[in-house]
Symmetry: D2
Subunit: 383 residues, 4 copies
């Protein structure tokens, strides 16, 4: 019934990108919690990412955050990563922690601060070139806290100019992903609050400016899969920050609140990849994780996240697309829904165990991680 | 201190459009409540709109909803309205009450139903021409209730094709306003759920396709004034449906939940009208009401709404824009906010009474409406 | 591994209550859509409920809505239902469609209207006695649309007095379930907006006043399973209105938006039933459906809903409670979550097919419904 | 028309409590921003609070946060405050920053950690006695991040036991305020998420356990004034944390997003104070600020906040209660709303300037603060 060969082929193409920052201490605005053995620098973060890749087999790249991951010698870092089996993925500029950015970075009323922010992004472009990355992933914390604090249209104009400069000075094969976020850390308005603004900006810039969708950056109730389908149809979807939320930007483990939603999002990618017109652009969509684990041990949580994402993607692969389109044509809403549910209900754990076995991977990566007691090892190594 | 001449001049330009449908019985999904004396047909609805205009002096046009307001002889209706001092404003097609549209109108999988929907819009274009209106105001109820019910990208393609046909077949001086709504009556996805989708569609169509912002059609927490500023800066804001909400699309009296928010929205219009680059397009923005009054008598509620809107617009006119820009430049957030608040705190009722006196209008339209006992008159006339 | 005997025993105890009103035409506030063959009166509604029970075997009671289901001879109706294999479940008073209730029913400033509302509830108590029901299920649409419309504390006092009268005049073995709803049809305030108010009121009334949880009546983000656990711990949970929502009170098919959430809610019931201290009260919790199907055929949708609910309940039965408590004790968050997920991931369709086979029920009720073409039959019978 | 004598008398009774922590550096979860001259210890924080009181005349007490404000000699601190014209207000235990509390404090599965948390609260009780405070203000960050992480009912039982111990061991004239918060820092469930749970817990404890309402701790759309009215009617409202929010717990300046809402909340207090049955308990309600200013200078922002709160309270005092009740009785919704709006529209700045003049206070405290250049003074003193 299930075409294992096809599934396995599509699983071969399924790659996730790990965020270096997920392996170091994190916190809420109320406290930062230290985890014994957590990575303390970029080399340890890459080590941890490599371990996740070794156990799961589907995480061949690691995203960096600058300046947190800054090193003197980028070639050395690149080699270090490659020795561990990893490529350097998206480079993420930090435009939010410097006091200069309190009132904005690329949108700041001060030309001097805008130039500083642009220079930092260009530094990241440089790092991307040196590390072999083709992606700059841009999240702006820019916004205001109070009505009147700044002029909306002036800020938009400054933002467009700043982005224009960056885009025009990137190498011709590099992509600029523009992330949006509904709110936080600014609490009155955010300069890029929704997909509409990311789309408007990237549309004006050009083909290599794309939208990045963080699953936790939407107002409550938002139909994210519809945004994903829209951006796919416009060839404007650049990538994801995978995580989950119940309330705001909670940065929880993917699918921990609503696994069905993730399945429906993945369905849009699976279908677009099969559409000849969209296939190329859909295949370039980067699946990055962006989670913050406080109550879960970091590496363990990341392995769990990858397995859950892989599982839900596999379920999306099982959807009988032909039958679905037939039901849709007939307005048979129950039947259409049951076709989705039949895929979702299927227990794909045996499929994935078999897949991993064939690839020489541990069938149950979580158990191996625990049995080998990697956490204790890290604690010992990183005292 | 306050430049009365300037204020009065700007008040002269401030016009609201009344919706014919607000003068007839309305309901929730749980009950429709009958108001004795409420208008029973388009002529009575125009009569009621004319009364509101007579008492307030700032509502010279009335929007129609087809087929609710359909008549045999459109020229006659136009003359009837003009005799009462009103022009015909936006023509609103109805693409939601016909059973054929249960699974979509302009997006329906069936070509036959799409053609029917397009034909209805073209009929409205025709009515607009006959009644001297230059605006088609399009709200689609299209969407799905369940995952899988239809294919998102196919619907978007159909929607674009339908709109393209309509846009290309409208007279060259007619505007198409595309409204968005977060949800309802569809409860899984809505085909035009946010400003981003309205913008994307109107951007593709051309200059005379614009976005319509209904104040009640956003997710909770949305910064509407920022959307307004964004659309103004792109010359893509076509108009408003003015109302208020606490929860969803509650269609309450404007500003009844948050008057400050309306003041901040109006501020964006006031400022854009003063910006030489945007002035022309900002002046064309149509301020329509779209409210449903159940617990308030309809005409009384409409007069109240107009007065409240006029009052908040007047407050926005009082903002000291130069001082504000100075404070913004200095990052003086408290000062900037206090400049807005100084305008908002000002009791503009004396200004407006004086303005009305000079125009030969009743100084207190609500009181006159009550004293003349128009409600009793309507009840007697419309038994 | 899975203890089938235990599962089957717990499945035997799992009963759902069907709402009579779900089998007749429904609508949104924009349109009411007619379904050919939909039930036109209470007898046909009971027939349809009986069909759902015959095919699924777990829906032995039907809730009535007064006056929609009002008949002359209640004994006759009761017998009719019993012949069809059904008992009469909760009696639902209607305190929202009469124009008198525009400004409130049990909370109305007018004593006369409050007395009328109380009398209607007492009529329902009488109907409950005559039909053998032990449950009055009370939903109030009471609230206000505008600040100042009425005095909150006066309304609360009136509400408490009205409920006190009803409670004290019910038979000693009858339960009063008090439903809450965040908003709609009132859009400024609702008199019973949340579980806190239902709890406060029922706590004051006495032991047979309990809270009813409608899954669609909460603010976005609400952790419903936590409310359920809280009410269970206080022996104050009376029952559910099962459905799902993405936005507001969407009344969609249960679990159609987030099946995992329903699983987590059912887990609380499963665990409470096993707790000796709470077992008795947890077993009395009534699982009623309250859905409105517009885009799905009504009977088909109801069968689908029952099967989905049964499936998710079965998954909740599979949770390894002992291992879970052990993981919780060890703060092993990943392990605890995986224990839940292991149950959720399990494909329980084979278990349920076997269960149905043993009970002499169709293994696939949806298929049987389609194969027997009950919809066509209904259409023919109900022309 | 306006009875100045009565207004001034009620203004004399209007007192706000300042939070010590608002005068030191604050941040979001993305960055902590340093303000030059910001208070560095409890003595400087009290100095800043005293300055706010000196300029506004209505902030005679300051709330402390333990251990942030911990000193060796509490009598000395009390005297220091009294010399500056301040009393010590609510004592706030900190049960969220210690790593031990990662999985809960009063609800923690570990008895040892629960005892530690209880001991800390009892230490705060002791500090309250030593500093002459009568109020413990308890906010728990307790909750879980993932389904299954802990058992809801067990946590509730532990919470009730912990609170019972604290309540029974407090002096007989001390109050325990129990705060609720919808979410954050826990992102799956919060142990005290809403007024219902605070009410349930305080109701079980006894008369001196009361609910604390933080204006930013509710789901979107919540009608806070209705919760306030409900708690007032039950004599269960202990106090407020005043602030505002647009999205989540944004901790912005009070009324900066919706001043009308604050006016409506204050109206409930004003009316309850006039109700003979509730007057005593309503007068005890503590009006504390709890804001975090990042983009505004801290002392300046606090003065602004106090003035805005005082202004909105004054507007609430102007509501014509008799006319309002008459309109409510007549179901005259427009009239009732206009009565509220008439008070809200009134520019009360002249009244407040006159009031301050009579009290020997600066008429415009914000201007005096700027003219005296207190910020520069602080910067020089606190290098």
């Amino acid at each position: 019934m299930i075409n294992m060969e096809r599934i396995f082929k599509e699983l071969d193409e399924l790659k996730f990108e790990l965020p270096s920052w997920a392996f170091s201490d994190a916190g809420t605005r109320f406290a930062v919690f230290h985890e014994e053995g957590a990575a303390r620098n970029v080399f340890e973060r890459i080590e941890d990412a490599a371990l996740v890749h070794r156990l799961t087999g589907c995480c061949p790249s690691v995203a960096l955050h600058i300046p947190w991951d800054k090193v003197e010698n980028w070639e050395e870092l690149r080699e270090f990563a490659e020795e561990k089996g990893l490529k350097i993925g998206a480079i993420n500029p930090n435009l939010f922690q410097d006091p200069d950015y309190k009132y904005g970075s690329l949108t700041n009323p001060s030309e001097k601060i805008r130039k500083k922010a642009i220079a930092h992004v260009m530094e990241c472009v440089d790092i991307a070139e040196k590390t072999g990355s083709k992606v700059i992933s841009l999240w702006l914390a820019d916004g205001t806290d109070y009505p009147g604090q700044d002029d909306f249209r002036s800020r938009k104009k400054r933002l467009e100019e700043s982005l224009r400069y960056i885009y025009e000075n990137m190498p011709a094969d590099m992509y600029l992903l523009i992330e949006y976020k509904f709110f936080e850390p600014a609490f009155y308005h955010t300069d890029i609050p929704d997909w509409g603004m990311s789309y408007l900006l990237s549309e004006k810039l050009g083909e290599r400016a794309l939208v990045l969708v963080d699953l936790g950056h939407h107002p409550q109730g938002t139909n994210i899969e519809y945004i994903v389908a829209t951006l796919l149809s416009e060839k404007k979807l650049g990538g994801f920050h995978l995580n989950n939320r119940k309330y705001a930007d909670d940065d929880l483990t993917i699918a921990s609140i609503n696994p069905y939603e993730v399945f429906l999002i993945f369905k849009e990618i699976v279908f677009a990849k099969r559409d000849p017109e969209l296939s190329d652009s859909a295949k370039k969509v980067v699946l990055m994780f962006d989670q913050a684990h406080i109550t879960k041990p970091k590496i363990l949580a990341m392995i769990q996240s990858v397995l859950i994402a892989q599982e839900l993607f596999t379920k999306a692969l099982l959807i009988d697309e032909n039958r679905l389109r037939e039901a849709q044509k007939n307005y048979d809403v129950v039947e259409a829904e049951e076709i989705l549910l039949d895929a979702f209900r299927t227990d794909v754990r045996p499929i994935l165990r078999e897949y991993r076995r064939q690839k020489g991977l541990p069938e149950d990566p979580l158990r191996v991680f625990r049995e080998e007691d990697y956490m204790e090892k890290r604690r010992r190594e990183r005292r």
